[in-house]
């Protein structure tokens, strides 16, 4: 079966925990909202940073899983600042294959992968004067790390526009490509398909290997941009 891949437009995010969290939540929830085909009570969430409202499934499991991954990603970003990174949301089917007589190999067949491309950049410091690479906890109301109000608002505006583009991109993708969506294995609950969120691992090369391995498993990967 085809594995459809969607490379989402790259987003320039500042090295701001709050910003990263908002952006990732928005994107991941939007994708999942379109893939969790069980009975859903949609929950509108307003982003605090932007005038964007996105929709969550209203499922606590999903929320928890997403938040955990985002925190892991933020930790990773702390250790690898100023880098382009990808977060991959994949949907797969579980196949039981009998490898040998008595063993079963559980194989994941990925049928859809979403790549969220972020370019996390350290923002120029101003007021504080000192540069520190420790974890920055940002009060959403204060933009203390931004170099100037104009730059920051321009940057934010650009990010908002890009985020909107990404959301439209998601909508377009889910509606254009529907034939590859497999039968629903999980009849109960909101989540219809097993999924996983992959963040870059400790080293870059390992992350690449993960992606490569996944591609091997899918069978007929189709790289679409």
């Amino acid at each position: 079966m085809n594995c459809e891949v969607c490379q989402l437009k790259e987003l320039e995010v500042g090295h701001l925990e709050f910003e990263i969290r908002e952006v990732l939540r928005c994107i991941l929830h939007t994708i999942l909202f379109h893939r969790a085909l069980g009975l859903v009570r949609p929950k509108d969430v307003d982003l605090e940073l932007f005038e964007i409202t996105y929709v969550q499934c209203g499922d606590l499991e999903i929320e928890k899983k997403i938040d955990e991954k985002i925190e892991q990603f933020i930790s990773w970003v702390e250790k690898h600042p100023n880098k382009k990174s990808q977060i991959c949301l994949s949907f797969y089917e579980v196949k039981n294959k009998q490898a040998f007589l008595f063993t079963h190999k559980i194989e994941r067949l990925y049928w859809e992968q979403w790549y969220i491309n972020l370019n996390v950049s350290q923002l120029p410091r101003t007021h504080s004067g000192k540069s520190h690479r420790s974890k920055v906890v940002v009060d959403p109301g204060a933009m203390i790390i931004e170099s100037s109000m104009e730059e920051s608002s321009a940057r934010r505006a650009a990010l908002e526009a890009s985020l909107r583009d990404v959301l439209f991109q998601i909508i377009k993708f889910v509606n254009e490509k529907k034939d590859h969506v497999p039968p629903i294995p999980n009849r109960e609950g909101v989540v219809s398909y097993p999924y996983e969120i992959t963040i870059p691992s400790s080293s870059d090369s390992a992350f690449g290997m993960d992606v490569f391995k996944r591609m091997l498993q899918t069978g007929h990967p189709t790289m679409l941009s």
């Binding site: 939007t30 909202f33 379109h34 085909l37 069980g38 009975l39 859903v40 009570r41 949609p42 929950k43 509108d44 969430v45 005038e51 964007i52 409202t53 996105y54 929709v55 209203g58 909107r164 959301l167 439209f168 909508i171 377009k172 889910v174 509606n175 254009e176 529907k178 969506v181 039968p183 629903i184 009849r187 109960e188």
Partner: protein
């Protein structure tokens, strides 16, 4: 032609899916655009509403209470082949309306302007000359259902990303009164935009969902920005209650407070006086909300082919008895192929909550393209649902019906039957359920019931005032309509449910009345019921 023998369960199911899709998309759109339709206490998430209504189960999207307007859709949009065009209209001030002395004079010539800021078109596009193959039909409605779930999710998401959403949120917030309002109009046609308007608008079409033999499509034309409109919080100050004035009870315990006006009544701009419609034939096939008299783009409708819409003083008594006459000579029937059973596809495990088709009864609404016929059918139109979208502050958003006003359209008295509440019905507090099973002889009572039931729930404005035109369905564009058979099998889809993961809300022994009655698009004289 006797449809019963040609009925195909799959076509009936597809028809239900299409019909419910239209309803659901209308629900989504109105919920995200028309503040007055939302319940007061609705919060962003619906987790507090544990009850899942039947309507929620469709497409696995819980939206909560359907606005009463959706019940109208059942009335007029009887042909699933017709496009459903939803205009979202911004009611805003004209250039010379901001003076204070205009505020409270409701009867002066209004300077409010109505502009269509979004037009949604939801339709089932069907090729005309395709005969459905039974095999194709079998599995296709399940595919259609699954894909339409995704489409509706996208629609829901998209509603929040378009420019109008912000204006909607502003209006919905209870803290401010604004100088604009958003109303809507649903019809099966739309006035084309002027070139000037088109230049300001963008289009977006969702990729259609295959719904063999046709497809479901949703598209929108929308204003890319609302900055052209002078939208801002209302400048009028609400009456403030000063509690500590000299001599007040606060300062003088022996006095008592005078009764004071509560709440905000900030009418930002005058209402237009309502003008009675000239002739019923000029009514477009649509209904709408809002105080205002028909917007200019509505009034010039030359609706030769449309049946009359709302009649100012409906007399529900003279009901035509036989709806079939309307259909017999108009509709082309689908040649349904052999009724072999659908092979179950365990691949598609989403189960539409089909309603079992109950004993057939004719719709209360008739199609007709023939104006002559429609003359006699005028009274068959339902009274419009009046859903006011007020321009006032939040507290006066819902007005109480003023039945004593002679100028208003006086509604026929409630018939006890029409407001019978089905005990098993959970959906709507009104007696709307009752009309679903009615036959033509009781349709009049039902329509009255509908309107008055709305009065019970929310404010009902007289339709004339709020230009709630109601019209009979459709349009005869002269194109042959491909009809669907009525699904006559009560049980056939039940077997399919074993393959599905979701239980059907309409079980066989469910005492609830069906949420949906299949549309009887094809009628021959032999199928007149009751």
């Amino acid at each position: 032609m006797d449809l019963q023998s040609n009925s195909q369960p799959e076509l009936g199911k597809l028809e239900q899916i299409i019909s419910q899709f239209l309803l659901k998309s209308l629900h989504i759109i109105l919920d995200s655009r028309i503040p007055s339709l939302r319940p007061h206490d609705r919060s962003g998430d619906l987790s507090s509403a544990n009850r899942v209504r039947k309507s929620d189960k469709w497409f696995n999207l819980v939206l909560g209470d359907r606005p009463a307007a959706l019940e109208n859709l059942n009335f007029w949009h009887r042909n699933v082949m017709d496009p459903m065009i939803i205009d979202i209209i911004l009611v805003h001030e004209g250039s010379n309306s901001s003076s204070v002395d205009n505020l409270y004079t409701a009867s002066t010539a209004g300077t409010s302007i109505e502009t269509v800021i979004e037009r949604w078109v939801v339709q089932y596009e069907s090729p005309r000359n395709v005969a459905p193959q039974a095999g194709e039909m079998a599995a296709s409605y399940k595919r259609t259902y699954k894909k339409s779930i995704v489409l509706l999710r996208s629609l829901y998401t998209q509603m929040r990303l378009l420019p109008v959403y912000r204006a909607f949120r502003q209006l919905s917030s209870s803290s401010q009164a604004y100088n604009f309002d958003i109303i809507y109009k649903v019809s099966s046609f739309g006035d084309p935009f002027t070139r000037a308007e088109e230049e300001l608008m963008e289009e977006y079409s969702f990729p259609p969902v295959e719904a063999f033999p046709g497809r479901l499509s949703v598209s929108v034309t929308y204003r890319s920005t609302l900055s052209d409109f002078n939208i801002e919080p209302s400048t009028t100050m609400p009456p403030k209650i000063i509690t500590d004035y000299v001599g007040s009870p606060a300062t003088d315990p022996l006095r008592s407070f005078p009764t004071s006006e509560k709440g905000v009544r900030a009418i930002s701009f005058p209402l237009r006086g309502a003008r009675p419609p000239s002739t019923p034939l000029e009514r477009p096939h649509s209904w709408t909300s809002g105080f205002h008299r028909a917007a200019p783009f509505m009034q010039n409708q030359h609706l030769v082919r449309s049946p009359p819409a709302y009649r100012p003083s409906p007399t529900f008594s003279d009901f035509p008895s036989s709806p079939s006459d309307m259909y017999g000579n108009r509709v082309q029937n689908y040649r349904l192929l052999s009724n072999q059973r659908a092979t179950t596809c365990d691949e598609y495990q989403l189960s539409p909550p089909f309603s079992p088709s109950s004993s057939p009864s004719p719709p209360t609404y008739f199609y007709g393209g023939n104006p002559n016929q429609m003359q006699t059918r005028k009274s068959s139109e339902t009274a419009p649902v009046t859903i006011p979208a007020t321009m006032t502050g939040r507290s006066s958003r819902y007005l109480s019906p003023n039945f004593s006003d002679p100028n208003r359209n006086s509604l026929p008295p409630l018939s006890p039957r029409s407001i019978r509440n089905d005990p098993s019905s959970q959906e709507s507090p009104s007696g709307i359920r009752s009309f679903r099973r009615i036959d033509s002889s009781r349709a009049g009572e039902v329509t009255a019931g509908i309107t008055n039931c709305h009065a019970g729930q929310k404010a009902i404005k007289d339709s004339r005032e709020d230009s709630g035109r109601f019209s009979g369905p459709l349009s005869s564009s002269g194109s042959p309509r491909i009809g669907f058979s009525r699904s006559s099998s009560r049980l056939s889809f039940q077997d399919d449910l074993d393959d599905f993961g979701f239980s059907c809300p309409f079980d066989v022994d469910d005492v609830d009345p069906p949420d949906f009655q299949p549309r009887y698009l094809n009628f021959s004289k032999s199928t007149v019921m009751n």
